[in-house]
Symmetry: C2
Subunit: 151 residues, 2 copies
DNA sequence: CTTTCCCTGTTACGGTATAACATCCTGAGG
DNA sequence: CCTCAGGATGTTATACCGTAACAGGGAAAG
């Protein structure tokens, strides 16, 4: 799944550490470990799979959910609502509205930037709403699954 | 929550019955009952609240989840992924990509049509994906909650 | 040193959803 | 009428997802 490994992984983690420090927060062991697992996976991972993969005596659910909440808050990860899963953000550390393409066949996801914020903002305004966050998840078939190469 | 009642509710249910028949499907008792509960509520409802409200000797989870799946498939209801809740569609019976404004304070929701399908379609194409469904959920504050009239 | 604040560990629980299988109903065809 | 096939439901049990509540620890400020 195009996950990171070796030096690229180390570099990503170092960079994350710097960004976290710049935000006056702490990249603690459990936060760093969960981010590492997400980066290695290179795709959506379920919370309980993170718990199982955590290693080192394991982790209990609250540990992992707290780390995920932190990573999401700082822009290192996103939650995929329609999959109950989490994924590392390729723009690690920039908080932003995320949008995803999700393959219904193999589960592959791509983070996209369709540029819809302005239209949603306008629709919100028309109903008197102020906008504070946006979830966009598109379901479809990835190139491999369209041609039968899936799985 | 602007739910339907009395004649308006009966009319909506009759219309649903006709649409279902036109699609060569059946609006069975449990499906009709769940749709009725969603229409009465006039807003998002949790599956287990539907189960509790079902009455008539009650319903077990699979009964209600099956009805919800059916209603979603035929365009009578949508699932709100970020709330784990379900809501009747004001365009009952037209299958379409739904988009929602959700108040973070009071939970009020509005179904909108921001017209973003074209842009998402283009982004999907750029990644080789074919598009088959779209979930858009915007979080913010409704007019009442913005001015402190909430709750 | 002590206070404060944040982060963590642990237990236990509640909410969400589905698997698996038996049963029943309905409508088409003989 | 009878039978058969497909879809819908009933039932039990279980798996999965997420959080409440409280105790403990560690760094940094005063
Ligand atoms: Zn992102
Ligand atoms: Zn695929
Ligand atoms: Zn709708
Ligand atoms: Zn509100």
């Amino acid at each position: 799944m195009a996950g990171l490994a070796g030096r690229a992984l180390d570099a990503a983690l170092s960079k994350a550490g710097a960004r976290v420090a710049a935000a006056d927060e702490r990249l603690t062991d459990s936060r760093r470990r969960v981010l590492e697992l997400l980066l290695k996976a290179g795709g959506p991972v379920k919370a309980y799979d993170l718990i199982a993969a955590y290693g080192q005596g394991g982790a209990k659910p609250p540990t992992v959910y707290r780390a995920l909440e932190f990573l999401e808050r700082l822009g290192f990860a996103h939650r995929l609502e329609s999959l109950n899963a989490y994924v590392a953000c390729p723009r690690s550390g920039e908080v932003h509205a995320a949008a995803f393409l999700i393959c219904e066949c193999c589960g592959a996801t791509v983070e996209i930037e369709p540029g819809v914020a302005d239209r949603v903002e306008r629709a919100a305004g028309a109903h008197g709403y102020s906008l504070r966050g946006l979830t966009l998840e598109a379901r479809g078939l990835c190139p491999a699954c369209r041609t039968g190469d899936g799985h």
